[in-house]
């Protein structure tokens, strides 16, 4: 009997402790959501998704009355849908153009900095390329891996559709606006880019550093590896901000979400997912 009592006692204490600890972890940056309820819709840039999803999971766990959904589509979709009022926050992997800001009365919030890395399949022995080689590959003057010291097989170039913010930034900063060859294969998101290159031993593409993982190999460009430090110091040039955009002043829920992403906890998440914090 005594043992059972003891077990019950310990269990109770444990439960109380768990509740207390939970309470501790709940207080803090998530407090901005206190008293809020409803449905927040986010869509657009595909680099944002994993990081924001992690934040959403935390928020919805702590506040049951709040429902947040996130979709992809690319930066163009983010702008378009937030502009039409279909969603509350439009994600973009590039700064919205002055024209877009004016037309849709956008409020722009930069919450992270992200590098764009050039990736190949891990089977390739190559570790780095020069800017000229990169431009050559994407514009079609270098078409075979043997020109880069590899086997005699043609290079499969992967790119994104013209609405992609990743593409826009890579095209400007990585390719110096060189025309991408017609033959290039098109994929629909950063995640699809990773899958495509991970599955094609002769593929090359570009991707958000937050999305890249061990299934693909990042290349150094002109001897600079796209590491967090190199992006931060500016040594690695192909980088961009990640933005959240709202039409006019954000509503209470959108505002809370943006505040949370910019809070120390949100910025820690940003770092955890391979981006650089802005605060």
């Amino acid at each position: 009997m005594k043992i059972i009592k003891k077990i019950i006692k310990t269990a109770t204490i444990c439960m109380i402790l768990v509740f207390l600890l939970r309470g501790v972890s709940l207080s803090g940056d998530l407090d901005v959501f206190k008293g809020l309820s409803g449905h927040l819709q986010i869509a657009g840039g595909t680099a944002h998704i994993k990081c924001e999803k992690a934040a959403i999971k935390r928020i919805m766990k702590a506040y049951r009355a709040i429902r947040i959904t996130i979709g992809g589509g690319g930066s163009g979709v983010g702008i378009k849908q937030v502009c039409e009022g279909l969603i509350d926050i439009g994600n973009t992997g590039r700064a919205p153009t002055p024209d877009e800001v004016k037309r849709c009365n956008l409020k722009v919030y930069k919450f992270a900095v992200d590098g764009i890395g050039v990736i190949v399949n891990p089977e390739r022995k190559i570790e780095g390329i020069t800017t000229n080689q990169l431009i050559g590959i994407f514009s079609g003057s270098i078409t075979n891996w043997k020109d880069l010291g590899g086997p005699n097989v043609s290079i499969n170039v992967y790119t994104r559709d013209s609405e992609s913010g990743t593409r826009k930034v890579f095209w400007k900063k990585g390719l110096k606006k060189a025309q991408i060859i017609e033959k290039a294969y098109f994929v629909r998101s950063n995640a699809a880019m990773k899958t495509a290159v991970a599955n094609d031993p002769y593929g090359i593409g570009y991707i958000s550093l937050g999305v890249a993982d061990n299934s693909v190999k990042l290349l150094a460009i002109d001897g600079v590896y796209p590491s967090r430090e190199n992006v931060k110091s500016g040594k690695y040039r192909i980088a961009r901000g990640l933005y959240m955009n709202t039409r006019g002043e954000p509503g209470p829920l959108a505002k809370a979400f943006i505040t949370y992403m910019l809070s120390p906890e949100g910025q820690k998440l940003v770092e955890k997912f391979g981006f650089l914090p802005v605060r």
């Binding site: 589509g73 690319g74 163009g76 979709v77 702008i79 378009k80 502009c83 039409e84 877009e100 037309r103 097989v153 043609s154 499969n156 559709d161 013209s162 609405e163 992609s164 095209w171 025309q179 017609e182 033959k183 290039a184 294969y185 098109f186 994929v187 629909r188 495509a196 599955n199 094609d200 002769y202 593929g203």
Partner: protein, 284 residues
């Protein structure tokens, strides 16, 4: 009295449903036409149909996509028609047996598989195979998309063909058999001539599905904006183009061009239906 009222109510309900379905289709056509009309008149249809797609250089032609659709859907229809009609003939040839029942069940089952499942499996099974066997390219090509698309339209072709073969009058078959014809001869000299119209319409419906499908080509054809020169080249269909560009900002030219693509697809399916109607009028 009560019965009549119920009958009237049912009739009214059906009429409303019909009117709704019909008006939605009409509305879509109207919508597509309104959006594309100014473009067609201002930018000259020829330019749309002849030029390539390069938004960075402000060129918004859809010629590569039209050719891509034609190649992918065409090859898929050829493969799908050959396989589908042969399969239907085989099922009819062994009709009544366990095998026939199993195959018929299999085809019905195939019709229910979502295309994205085919696409995803092919991405990991067929695409590497094509890449390894042909050496060059990533394996994302017209051939890969067409082969899988053929599987997608196979149930449509097989089920309709089988249905038409089954409709051949039994006494006709009996009469020919009593003259000493073998089962194979019956199939070729009775079933095929009797059912050819049904088979042609099955293939046309299959072609309609092949042109309209988005997921397979989007996942397997590589989506390159180029006029393909071989079946190992990457290509983009009109439907994939719509899927890839919907992203565009609605003020932009590329967004408007999407409606022209939609109109083309709509016109194609209208033409398909018209063709089937004409086919129905032909005496055998």
């Amino acid at each position: 009295m009560k019965g009549k009222l119920a009958e009237k109510a049912t009739k009214a309900a059906i009429a409303v449903a019909t009117a709704m379905a019909a008006s939605i289709v009409m509305f879509i056509f109207f919508f597509l036409f309104c959006f594309s009309a100014p473009l067609i008149s201002s930018w000259h249809l020829g330019q749309f149909l002849a030029k390539s797609w390069n938004p960075d250089a402000r060129i918004f032609g859809i010629y590569p996509m039209i050719v891509g659709t034609f190649y992918i859907a065409g090859l898929a229809t050829i493969i799908g028609a050959i396989l589908g009609v042969s399969l239907a003939m085989f099922i009819e040839f062994v009709s009544g047996s366990m095998l026939a029942r199993f195959l018929a069940w299999l085809v019905e089952f195939m019709a229910g598989i979502p295309t994205v499942v085919y696409g995803f499996s092919a991405l990991f099974l067929l695409v590497p195979l094509i890449r390894e066997s042909f050496g060059d390219g990533s394996g994302l090509c017209i051939l890969a998309a067409s082969m899988v698309l053929a599987l997608v339209i196979l149930p449509t072709v097989t089920m309709i063909t089988l249905d038409r073969l089954k409709a051949v009058p039994g006494n006709l078959v009996m009469a020919v058999k009593s003259l000493g014809a073998s089962s194979l001869e019956v199939l070729f000299y009775v079933h095929l001539p009797y059912a050819w119209k049904g088979i042609v319409s099955a293939v046309i419906l299959g072609a309609g599905r092949a042109v309209g499908d988005t997921m397979i080509a989007l996942m397997l054809a590589g989506n390159a904006v180029q006029v393909p020169s071989s079946i190992l080249d990457s290509a983009r269909t009109l439907t994939s183009h719509i899927a890839l560009v919907t992203a565009a900002d609605y003020e932009s030219m590329s967004f408007k061009v999407i409606f022209v693509c939609g109109l083309l697809l709509f016109v194609f399916s209208a033409w398909n239906i018209l063709f089937l109607k004409i086919l129905g009028k032909i005496k055998r």
